[in-house]
Amino acid sequence: MQPATDWGQAWTIVGGGLMAVFIIMTLLAASTHLMGKLFQGVERRKKERAKAAKAAEAEEASA
C-alpha cells in the first residue's frame, strides 16, 4: 500500500509539467519561425543579387 498522496504536490507537478512543455514548444516554434524568416530572407536577397548581376551583364552585352 502506498502512503497517502500529496495532492498539492501532484497538482503542482501537472501545472508545472504542462507549463514547461507549452513554454518550451512555443519558444521552439517562435525561434524556428524566426530562423526560417532569416534564412528565407538571405535566400531571397541572394536570388535578387544574382538576378541583378545577370541583368547588368545582359545590359553590358547589349551596349
Binding site: Q2, Q9, A10, G17, V21, T26, T32
Partner: protein
C-alpha cells in the same frame, strides 16, 4: 541402495535441476504471453522489431532455473550473472544507456523539415502531451478508492509517460523512476503504438465534423535549406536543455543524432546510427524489457491498471491534440485541418499516416502526410521534454 531411495534421489534431482519440476502456473502464463507477443509480431506484424524480442525475452526470463536474469552483484563468483541480468542491470537499471542510444538512432533517422517548414506544429506536439498528465492524476486517484492498489508519485509519472507514445522515453523514465513497472509500461507504449490504427480513428471522428475532416490543405510545404536543417538541432538542443537540464539524455541524443544526419560530413557515422547501432541496441533493449517481466513482478492486479491508464493517456493525448487542432483551425488564416492534432502523439510515422489516410477518405484531393509529419516529430520532442521534467523532479544525476 534400495529401489525406493534410488527413486527418491532421482525425483530430488528432477525437482532441483530439471525445469519441468519447477514450472509453476504464473511462469507458464508469462511464457504464453511471450508466445502471444511473438505471434502478434509475426502474424499481424505489430511492431515486430519490438514485440518479437520482447516476447523472446519474456519467455527466457520465465523459464525456471536458467539463471539468465541473475544480475551481477558485488562478491558474486565469475560467470554467475546471466546475460539478460547483465543487460538489465547495466543497460536499463544502473547505467540506463540503452534508451539514449535508441534516441540517437531515431535522431539520425528523423527528418525535421516538415516541422521547420511549419513551426506551428510544435504547439500540436505540446497539446498531445496532455494525456501524460491526465493519466498521472488518474494513477494517483486509484489510491483513493483502493489504497492497496495505489501508485506512488514516481510510478504515476512512469504510467503517465506512456501517453507520449514514445517507447524509449517511456523506458528511460520508468527505468529510473519505477524499475518494477518498467517492463509493463514499455510493453503498453509499444502495444498502443502498434494499435494506433485502431485507437485513433474513432477519437478523431468523435471530435471532428465531416466538414472539418474535409478541409483541404495545399500539399506542398516550403523547401527547407540545409543551413536551417543543421542549425535546428543545435538551437533546439541548447534551448530545451538550458530550460530542463534533465531532458539532456533524451533530447541531447535525439538532436545529436539528427545533427550527424544533417551535417552531411559524417555520412558513415550517420549511417551506422541509422542502421547497425540502432539495430544492435534494439535487440539488447527489447530483450532486456522482456527479461524485466518475470511472473512475480507482473502477476499483479496493478499490471492491468497500468495497461488501462496507459491506454487512457494515449486516448486523451489524441483527443487533446485534435481539440487544439480545432482551436488552431478557427484562428488560422489559411485552411487548417484539425485532424493534424492527432499526429501530435509521437507514434512516428503511424499517427501521421492515419491522419493522412483519414484526410484522403474525407476528401480525395487532400494529401496531409507532410503536414502531419510536423506535429508527429514535434511529439517526439514534446514527450522527451515531459520525461525530462518528471526526472528533474525526482532524480539528481
Amino acid at each position: 541402495m534400495n529401489w525406493f531411495s534410488y527413486h527418491q534421489g532421482v525425483l530430488k534431482i528432477l525437482n532441483v535441476q530439471v525445469g519441468f519440476g519447477n514450472l509453476d502456473l504464473p511462469h507458464l502464463i508469462m511464457i504464453l504471453v511471450g508466445l502471444g507477443f511473438i505471434t502478434l509480431a509475426i502474424k499481424k506484424e505489430w511492431e515486430p522489431y519490438e514485440l518479437l524480442p520482447i516476447g523472446a525475452g519474456m519467455i527466457l526470463a520465465n523459464l525456471p532455473l536458467t539463471g539468465l536474469i541473475t544480475q551481477p552483484a558485488p562478491g558474486m563468483a565469475p560467470g554467475m550473472a546471466g546475460v539478460l541480468g547483465i543487460i538489465l542491470k547495466y543497460g536499463l537499471y544502473t547505467w540506463t544507456i540503452l534508451p539514449q542510444f535508441i534516441f540517437f538512432g531515431i535522431g539520425a533517422l528523423t527528418d525535421f523539415s516538415p516541422l521547420i517548414a511549419n513551426p506551428r506544429a510544435f504547439l500540436l506536439g505540446a497539446a498531445a502531451q496532455v494525456g501524460i498528465y491526465t493519466s498521472f492524476l488518474g494513477a494517483l486517484a486509484i489510491g483513493l478508492w483502493v489504497p492497496e492498489w495505489g501508485f506512488s508519485l514516481k510510478e504515476a509519472c512512469s504510467i503517465g509517460i506512456i501517453g507520449g507514445a514514445d517507447g524509449p522515453t517511456t523506458i528511460y523514465t520508468s527505468g529510473l523512476l519505477a524499475p518494477d513497472i518498467m517492463g509493463i509500461t514499455a510493453v503498453a507504449a509499444y502495444s498502443y503504438m502498434a494499435m494506433v490504427a485502431i485507437i485513433q480513428p474513432p477519437i478523431i471522428k468523435l471530435l471532428t465534423t465531416k466538414h472539418e475532416r474535409q478541409i483541404y490543405m495545399k500539399p506542398m510545404l516550403r523547401n527547407v535549406s540545409r543551413a536551417e536543417r543543421i542549425l535546428f538541432p543545435v538551437m533546439a538542443m541548447l534551448l530545451i536543455i538550458l530550460i530542463i537540464p534533465k531532458s539532456a539524455p533524451l533530447v541531447g541524443f535525439l538532436l545529436l543524432g539528427n545533427l550527424f544526419r544533417e551535417s552531411g560530413v559524417v555520412e558513415r557515422l550517420s549511417q551506422t546510427a541509422q542502421n547497425e547501432l540502432i539495430n544492435i541496441i534494439t535487440i539488447l533493449l527489447m530483450l532486456g524489457i522482456g527479461a524485466s517481466m518475470p511472473a512475480d513482478r507482473v502477476m499483479d492486479p496493478r499490471t492491468l491498471l497500468v495497461l488501462f491508464l496507459g491506454l487512457a493517456a494515449f486516448c486523451v493525448g489524441t483527443a487533446s491534440g485534435v481539440i487544439f487542432g480545432k482551436i488552431m483551425s478557427k484562428f488560422s488564416k489559411e485552411p487548417f485541418n484539425p485532424m493534424l492534432g492527432a499526429a501530435g502523439v509521437s507514434a512516428v510515422p503511424m499517427s501521421a499516416r492515419i491522419v493522412h489516410h483519414m484526410g484522403q477518405q474525407a476528401n480525395k484531393r487532400n494529401f496531409l502526410l507532410m503536414h502531419a509529419m510536423g506535429p508527429n516529430v514535434a511529439g517526439v520532442i514534446g514527450s522527451a521534454v515531459a520525461g525530462g521534467y518528471f526526472l528533474g523532479l525526482f532524480i539528481n544525476f
